[in-house]
């Protein structure tokens, strides 16, 4: 008996899918912006920042990079309330994503900073700029330019990893898929369609990041 495919029953739930897509986009938008910001700050600490901050930042980076995102998410959502910090699903998901991307970005951006030619530092210094000013105006932009492809890849990876946020009932695309298949019992079709949507989102995100890179870096002269 051949399996009867029924994709129509999936698309009956299109509004649910759209809502899920919206939440996924919200998650990655926040995660990407906050994560890169954390990455820049931590990369600065690791390359030029105060020495007493370096150990905590390294601990943070190594901890995140060597544990699964699922556990990080559960810890933020289920574990933090024991410390008195009660977060809603979206808040916990956004925080976990930002912390996750932040740690990976730190290493990527740090590599970009380390590749700065020494002459740039010397030129900045000889123009009477302070170390922070040199970092902000001379080092940071070219560093980001250098590592933009790697950083973009990481952002896409984190977006795909956001599927896990459904596990704490954040109503993202995966959550929507789970909901739909519990109603129409068409698990295969639902997950196939959802996978296709994720694929499209990944392609779209990569394009957006590529265009952002182009606009950001040629227009760095503001």
């Amino acid at each position: 008996m051949a399996y009867q495919y029924d994709f129509a029953s999936v698309f009956e739930y299109t509004p649910v899918l759209l809502k899920g897509i919206g939440v996924t986009i919200k998650l990655i938008a926040f995660g990407a912006v906050a994560g890169v910001a954390i990455g820049i700050a931590c990369a600065w600490v690791r390359t030029q920042g105060p020495t007493w901050l370096r150990a905590p930042v390294s601990a943070y980076v190594e901890l995140i990079r060597n544990t699964p995102f699922l556990i990080q998410l559960f810890f933020v959502f289920f574990g933090l309330p024991s410390l008195g910090i009660q977060l809603g699903e979206m808040q916990a998901a956004c925080l976990a994503m930002a912390l996750n991307l932040g740690a990976y970005s730190t290493e990527i951006i740090r590599a970009g900073i380390d590749a700065t030619p020494r002459g740039q530092y010397e030129a900045g210094a000889s123009l009477a700029l302070s170390r922070i000013q040199v970092f902000r105006h001379i080092v940071l932009m070219p560093a980001l330019m250098r590592i933009w492809p790697a950083l973009s890849s990481q952002i896409v990876i984190v977006m795909l990893g956001s599927a896990v946020c459904s596990q704490i009932a954040a109503e993202d695309l995966t959550f929507a898929a789970n909901f739909i298949q519990s109603r129409n019992f068409r698990a295969f079709e639902v997950y196939l369609v959802t996978t296709g949507i994720y694929l499209a989102l990944a392609v779209l995100l990569r394009q957006i990041l590529r265009m952002t890179g182009r606009r950001l870096f040629r227009k760095a002269a503001r």
Partner: protein
């Protein structure tokens, strides 16, 4: 209400961690085979081979692992194929890691300067011989560090298999949390066990990269 000590928690987590390790090893082994196959196809001279391999890699790199696990588990079981969690987990992770390993190794092969190909070709070596005697030995050296680095990703990815019911470390953590109502302790311990598994591999990968002077891929 049963009182659980921290040692009870840790002991049970460690027992479950065995399955994490086994699944990781299986996924790595399977993924390596899959990866070699995909690499060969990806660099083949036959366009159709290249396209199929490209599609496989794009598909598994461009979609969430969770979706792949769901499709393997829920999807297949609806078509009448009874798939136990461990099999779905193993199959999905094998295909997933195969795609990533293929790309990592392709990068290593392409990092070999064209001059090596040209020199070996002008010494009348065929494609397979070029790969076997000239290119792969050099590419292997560069490949060790990122491959070990990816092994870390495999260990972490096993956590998702808990969602389709495979009993490994993360699933045990969830179960124990529900029994003990101490999520902070349980998830912290689980995180530390994962850290203990992954961090040595990460450090090894770093050391290998420095030792073998592997150029850091941009």
């Amino acid at each position: 209400m049963i009182e659980f000590s921290t040692w009870d928690i840790v002991r049970n987590l460690l027992l479950a961690a065995r399955w994490t390790i086994i699944l990781s090893l299986a996924a790595f082994a399977g993924g390596a085979l899959m990866g070699v196959l995909a690499l060969m196809m990806r660099t083949s001279r036959v366009a159709a081979m290249r396209r199929i391999s490209w599609a496989y890699i794009e598909l598994f790199q461009g979609t969430p692992l969770l979706m792949q696990l769901f499709l393997a588990f829920f999807g297949l079981s609806l078509i009448g194929v009874e798939v136990p969690p461990w099999l779905a987990a193993g199959a999905a992770l094998t295909l997933w890691s195969g795609a990533f390993l293929a790309e990592i190794w392709r990068g290593c092969v392409e990092a070999i300067p064209k001059g090596q190909w040209e020199a070996s070709a002008s010494l009348a070596l065929g494609y397979v011989q070029q790969m076997r005697y000239v290119v792969l030995p050099q590419a292997l050296r560069i490949a060790v560090a990122p491959t070990v680095g990816f092994a870390v990703q495999i260990v972490k990815s096993t956590a998702l298999t808990s969602i389709i019911g495979f009993t490994e470390l993360s699933k045990a953590a969830t179960v124990i949390t529900n029994a003990t109502f101490s999520p902070f302790t349980v998830y912290a311990c689980a995180a530390l066990i994962y850290f203990a598994l992954c961090w040595p591999l990460s450090r090894l990968s770093l050391r290998l990269e420095r030792k073998l002077h592997a150029p850091h891929r941009p």
